[in-house]
Symmetry: C2
Subunit: 389 residues, 2 copies
């Protein structure tokens, strides 16, 4: 099994930096706080316009034309429209299945958020808050969302699989990334109650989720679980015969390598990825391994140290002018792309993060170099090698 | 001079069929009537979201990567924000100039609408109404918009030219297209007062506009005028030496050919275009000639007679299922593309209409076959030949 895919990030789960227009005139940093700052009808109008214009049929036709076969679609816990004030988006996912089946693509549904958040990242829905796993009723709610998704799409030709939950944090990542400093909580009380998930909880949640999903989904569709940022911690997990079609997902960004001390040179990046490839090969003995999120972005090509991928939104000043030549950027990106694609191929494939970024590197100060998060632009610039379908 | 370009249609001047989300929950058929049916803050939220997401930096990078060199940007008469309740969009055009200059493209600014409308088309801003040229103060207003555009962008490297006004109708087109039946007026009184422009008025308006624009714009930038649907009526026009850098723009759709009786076969389409090429060559003796709007769309590839390009929005039933095979569609589109591109090259180039269409041919009944209006999708499907930059 080899998957070549891309994430449709920021479509149904928002990230402010990827489409700033949605957040204009507010101080909200995340999806959770946005409706608290806008009149109901303005919030609704913005969300609905975004959903109807950000990803459409024509994205599916282009993705197919690039030789990719699968899209990973992050969805929020409120997808079924039962958690006010948030607006459901199951209709949008229905549309996506029809597009995928029309154009010969498949979908990995990725449950990307949980009420109270599983990681406290801005993209977890509520910055600086991580209280979901402390609330048994919300844990059960999350399982019910997975079950409903499996019921609705389990038999669809366009379904590749369902991912249980995106990036639940454990203690090491919570501390190492200084989550609550990077993403300060708006609600102090919820922030104070926050702590990382335990590995015991996550393992049990994954087992429960497997059962709830598999009940409705045949074994040729995959159940995907994220490594919780510990790629090699899963050798004794789901060894029983009943677990079929389970895929291990690891997310690997060069900005995180930098945070762990990787030097900002092409040689170091490539070396780092080659080591990672060994770990992937090791874990492939246990599960098919995909890299469900990665991109070409790195500080060397930006032209300044981004302190582990921090932006003006995190209070880190960015560049207003290009300092690296177009030729040099292409060299750097081509070199890291080659190493990364080789590593993912040594496993079972990849999903680029992300397909589309509306971030304006020309007209908004501080964003020079961030275009490499956008696979469409990477192809346009010749940074990402397109193998024809 | 040869221009290879594409229109950024429906970005700053709306067409309901190209992004239905904007018009959801209303019966408005055009941009003029939309704010009359929505609460002010909802109207604003929709418009602003649309403008910030529909066309962005990444469209410019892809257009450049396809080997095109120029974009034609339709703008409304209220671009400067001085005509309530409409919202200005000069900031968006400023952004576009910065993107164009960053990525090596140029812009043809196309003043696409006038208060009271110059044609009564849905894309003229007010369906079924054509009273602009009867109001001297509005004629002067339109000239002032052109002058302000020339002042603001005349010296920009990214400027290719300014088009005086899009598709003013004369009597023949007004009658032949049955404009007021195809696009019924909402305001009966304004509808009743409507009539086509006279050729005398349009000629004088073009002369006045030339002076107002050229005052601020050097002669290496083009002043473009539309042929008012009479390609060969301009042999005695602007013959004086003072008129420099003037380009004649003709819009040529196969759906109009069908309306004039062209048989719905590849041979007839190609024959029609070859005749057109002769007319273009004839007119090239007088002006450089561009085809500022055209596309691959035709009824043969759709699989049913569209009655001259009418849609479910005009009350003409469309198809819900594909009836022409993907292979056959590609054959048809490749053949007409070859003939059309040859014809435009015999002139001085072209702008495809349009770059992007959000119309969902899979999930909304009646739209099968309309994807060929979307240049991005035509490239994805291999319908449009991409010559590398």
């Amino acid at each position: 099994m080899q998957v070549k895919g891309v994430n449709l990030g920021n479509w149904l789960v928002l990230e402010k930096w990827m489409s700033p227009g949605l957040f204009e005139g507010t101080t909200a940093e995340d999806e959770h706080n946005l409706p608290l700052q806008l009149p109901k009808e303005v919030y609704e109008a913005r969300i609905k316009m975004h959903r109807s214009e950000y990803i459409t049929e024509r994205d599916f036709t282009r993705i197919k034309s690039l030789g990719l076969d699968t899209v990973r679609i992050p969805v929020p816990y409120f997808i079924f429209g039962d958690r006010e004030p948030f607006i459901g988006c199951i209709g949008e996912l229905d549309n996506a299945f029809n597009w995928a089946e029309r154009y010969g693509l498949q979908i990995l549904i990725d449950l990307h958020t949980a009420p109270g958040s599983q990681n406290g990242f801005d993209n977890g829905g509520e910055s600086g808050v991580c209280i979901w796993s402390q609330q048994p009723d919300e844990v059960e709610f999350e399982l019910s969302v997975l079950e409903r998704l499996a019921e609705r799409y389990g038999q669809r030709k366009g379904l590749w699989g369902i991912e249980i939950i995106n990036e639940p944090v454990l203690e090491d990542m919570w501390e190492g990334m200084h989550v609550q400093e990077r993403y300060p909580a708006v609600d102090a009380e919820r922030g104070a109650r926050s702590k990382p998930n335990t590995i015991e909880f996550i393992r049990q949640f994954y087992l429960d989720a497997y059962d709830r999903i598999r009940k409705h989904m045949p074994e040729d569709k995959y159940v995907v679980f994220h490594d919780a940022f510990r790629l090699k911690a899963w050798k004794d997990f789901m060894r029983e015969d009943k677990y079929r079609g389970v895929v291990l997902d690891t997310h690997q960004y060069l900005m995180m390598a930098e945070l762990y001390g990787c030097e900002q040179t092409v040689e170091s990046y490539v070396g780092y990825v080659k080591n990672l490839q060994k770990d992937i090969e090791e874990m492939k003995e246990y599960f098919p391994v995909i890299c469900g999120e990665w991109c070409l972005f790195n500080s060397l090509a930006v032209g300044q140290d981004t302190k582990g991928g921090q932006t003006v939104l995190n209070g880190v000043e960015g560049l207003d002018q290009e300092v690296v030549s177009d030729e040099r950027k292409k060299e750097i990106y081509n070199a890291v792309a080659k190493a990364q694609l080789e590593a993912w191929k040594a496993g079972n494939g990849y999903f680029y993060w992300s397909w589309k970024l509306l971030t304006d590197t020309v007209n908004t100060p501080g964003w020079v170099g961030w275009d490499s998060w956008d696979l469409g632009r990477c192809v346009d610039f010749g940074w990402f090698p397109v193998e024809e379908a």
